[in-house]
Amino acid sequence: MQAFGSGAMTNSIADITQARTILLIGTNTTANHPVISLQIKKAVRQHGAALIVADPRRIELAEFATLFLQHEAGTDIALLNGLAHIILREGLQDEAFIAARTENYETWRAVVEEYTPERVSQITGVPVADLERAAQLYGSRKPAAIFYAMGITQHTVGHQNVLAVANLAMLTGNIGIPGGGVNPLRGQNNVQGACDVGGLPNVYPGYQSVADENVRAAMAAFYGVPQPPPVPGLTLTEMIDAAGDGRVKALYFMGENPAMSDPDSNHVRECLARAEFLVVQDIFLHETTEFADVVLPAASFAEKDGTFTNTERRIQRVRRACDPPGQARPDWQIVAEVARRLGAPGWDYADPAAIMAEIAEVTPIYRGVRYERLEDGGLQWPCPAPDHPGTPILHTVRFSRGLGRFSPVHHQPAAELPDEEYPFMLTTGRILQHWHTGTMTRRVTGLDLLAPEERVEIHPQDAAALGIADGDWIRVSSRRGTVTARAGVMRRPRPGLVFMTFHYAEALGNVLTNKALDPIAKIPEYKVCAVKVEKVAPPADL
């Protein structure tokens, strides 16, 4: 956002095959965005793209890579600054792009000077020769596309990580061209859309700041009531804390399971238990409904109409295929009924198309969106007018904020690093067969058969030192909790690193994770915390 002025994938999934170089950092694309990983494999195998994979784990796409950089978790800034340093030393930067489209270049360049290959190699654990080769590939084979996901954002320095990615792309002029770009892969089916339409505490629909007095006045006029003070509301993790200390009395959750998805889940449960009134609206009972005073039964995606916006900003239709079970209702009907019962006028929407018409009115980037325009393939925002065709590539002529801004960023260690008592680093993520907290996929027999239980990934060297064999039961402990699960002994993680998911309620990685936040993006540091690992006897009930 700070670099370009908008936070979304700059390019489209379809133009991945036009890239001559692809850099993946902090994305296990095969597991989390499987169909995009197919497109990446196609770019490599059929179109001759060079693929650089940077990840603390030897993910599947590393097998397709021209070059695999297995850097230590939490050292992305050093790695990215180091690549920029070599690109500058070799004179591979795009001077014309830098001069015409960017600002703050000289200040940034002075910082990058400090990231010599030798120093970067020491911080990241990546050999100097591999750094040189990666910089050469990314800097000289244009167009070059960068893809990243939560391996970049889920750190206390997540915000700076993103800036470091943007700096590298601007340095080489890889913005606004097919096959290039900075492409954050958004996790959930509609995380892009939920952000677009104002499901965030700091912005109204269309990323219009709550602090902007013009926006506030316009929304007050549109909604017909004075608007809250121009300061951001509470983020998810802050809400939970506020419920714990009594600042927040009532909570209304729609389709969320924070008792399982949030870091330090024991703390979350204590806070939710203290709330005066909790409403949970969902399709199943789950860990969070244990604390609910009211549970409202919702329709699933197959039982309602609406739209989702995908990671390439494409607004697509969701269509009702069957009826909800029993008395379950679509979420939009439930929320509208709550508003009506609170005495709010103007909440009698006939259908989701009528709601989209209102979204278009208040959301500049959705202004041209109408259901009848989504019948064939959807529309990519910004779509500012009813006759606008949508925007497959962002920032082709100018950035949303005008000039792209180079932002100097420095390597900072993670909030919690291994020590004598907790000598391993834990990183978390998903696997292909399951989804998030498992409320859906663990109820699909075939998927649960494929991946029935947590397997804590640990390097053979570490396992041998602890006397652990593949499939043995182990106890993983952090300063916040303890989890018992089977070990998966494999060469995927770096030595010293263990990996867990958050799919399995019976062996939940988030009992261990650290809720230390990135102070700007407010993202918890799921990707690095310190743990110890011990071999234990199998559970008695096994």
Partner: protein
Amino acid sequence: MTHASADQVALHQADAIQPDRIVRTTCEYCGVGCQILLHVKNGVIYRVSAPFDAAPNYGNLCVKGRFGHDYVWHRDRLTTPLIRRDGVLQPASWDEALSLVANRLAAVKAAHGPDAIAFLCSAKCTNEENYLMQKLARQVIGTHNIDHCARL
């Protein structure tokens, strides 16, 4: 000698079924937004395929997109509103549940102000539903305490 797996048999049998309708929609799992075709018979989705001519997936699907939708008719689905009474969630009517929600939210707002209420919308729900949830927070209650799991 080869043996057809249970899945292959099921797939073969699925081929023999004439669907009542085929509904094109967007997969509910990840941010790729694959286009899927739900084959429905007697109100049940019995098969999922993908259109070959449509972005972004052009006929491709992952294991969840093709086989991961059975939870839709799982016996655990919530079918009625529930209200906690004597520490236990018990079935209630919509009218009762919605009145309770509205009354309690209004009471908390009156006693402690709008910022004593917080909302979570959802990266799994539609744009329209998320829009309404933020409107409920900002217009009806009067707070910016609205977020979802974008960061998780």
